[in-house]
Symmetry: C2
Subunit: 317 residues, 2 copies
Amino acid sequence: MNNLITQLFQIKYPIIQGGMVWCSGWKLASAVSNAGGLGLIGSGSMTPGLLETHILKCKEATNKPFGVNIPLLYPHAEAHIEILLKHKVPIVFTSAGNPALYTKKLKENGCKVVHVIANSKFALKAVEAGVDALVAEGFEAGGHNGKEETSSFCLIPQIARISQLPIIAAGGMYDGRSWLAAEALGASGIQIGTRFAACIESSAHTNYKEAIIKALEGETQLTLKQLTPVRMFKNELYFQLDAMISKGASSEELRSFMGRGRSKKGVFEGDLAQGELEMGAVSSLINKKESAQEIISELVKTYIEARKKLIENNFLS
Amino acid sequence: MNNLITQLFQIKYPIIQGGMVWCSGWKLASAVSNAGGLGLIGSGSMTPGLLETHILKCKEATNKPFGVNIPLLYPHAEAHIEILLKHKVPIVFTSAGNPALYTKKLKENGCKVVHVIANSKFALKAVEAGVDALVAEGFEAGGHNGKEETSSFCLIPQIARISQLPIIAAGGMYDGRSWLAAEALGASGIQIGTRFAACIESSAHTNYKEAIIKALEGETQLTLKQLTPVRMFKNELYFQLDAMISKGASSEELRSFMGRGRSKKGVFEGDLAQGELEMGAVSSLINKKESAQEIISELVKTYIEARKKLIENNFLS
């Protein structure tokens, strides 16, 4: 296998399932790993004890490599790292924080470390910290996102220009065509979030999964740029926020209005009106409920088809 | 030649130079057409008399096909159409308006008609109007843009899903890798704006060209969403607008502050502080002044390289 990402993680396909709060527990992560991709447990919504349970269940459910995503700014980050090391989780994706904090320690303990970035500045910090690969997350991605609003078309070549590390493209990734396009731009693998969030093994609420499947073009938007930019479905909550923002609301007013637990309310409890429905722009392309295995199979099938079509269409030679 | 776009326009490469106010007169358009792409005269900043002069000069400067871009909402649109027909301009790109207005008349007179869209709704209207191809313009593009903020990664497959017409991808298009990526997503050609706006034959002011070349990641942004969304360089004018918007300025206040002639001031007169410096997100990737011929040659070279790399990296079979 001469793909940098399949070699790095010892997996069959360079397809990563994004670690997503309230969606990706052991059930989704193990299903993706069993199908030949890399499943990630999203630890951002878990206590250390719960993360440990998910790791143990994931190990029971698959003998393939899997990983854990850790948002470094979350209060449990350090405790989560200890649990990963205790159970020798082979792969860690870190995000939202300083990659210099734990990369060395994790690598000394045999972990492969990947850091999620949305701009060149943080990519260079991650390279310096010694990570093994980068997730380049474009403007299209659901949930938290960069302030620069750099889309995958511009971000992937930008990151490829400044670093030799393998790149995993995230944001706008949906099928074999986006996978092939990401490769053309300089990525070696892709990370898919929203399509897996809507799949059968996701632990999200059915209402939220159906909202992804029903979402139309232009129905997700990046908002809350005054705080941390986040892409979400344009529901009642979004329009309330939008009205506040267009009247000049302060960061403090927005923070207070949002309160705590909005994404749990939306993604896990299925409150489609007042929950924060984090989802990517590809929601408009997703229109059926599938299993993780079906998603991976369809990705491989459409990738091979797109590749064949591109090779045949050799009009320049 | 089995490429839909090269066949449609009878050109060598499916590379279109976007029609851009204050940048693309006869000089740029003829240089691009002579290099094997398709040059477009941007008529949006021209009176009918001036457009006629540019068409005549373009015919003197090249015997290859060239076209004219017409923003349909501009006051001179109808007079411009008459001039195109008088001089038998073979290709017309229409934008910013209703494609049903002139498509039939243009086609009856032997013109190839392409309409620029940023969402599926307008794509379907253009298909119904009988156009020959669509430009799918993503969120990354400089200047006026769609309200949905759909990036090229999501827009191209979305449009390919609802229409069989050839697609020209615009927004985020920079080199052979983006060209190949656009093809992977379902496009048959690409339209490049900003890179040509900065090139030697562009009629834009040197200050503006240098601003493109110096622009860094995250230094362009989509703004003025209350009026018509426009992507511009984040200069003094941008930050003044941004301050007004975050204080809750009304559409009327923003319109009055912008006044008239801001893009002429920036792009043509080189006022980097108070002019509207329309440019695409790819500005961060552009770092040298080139001729149109050099851009086309480099596009073809990097396209062939990227294609070769993609074919060699056949890890799945």
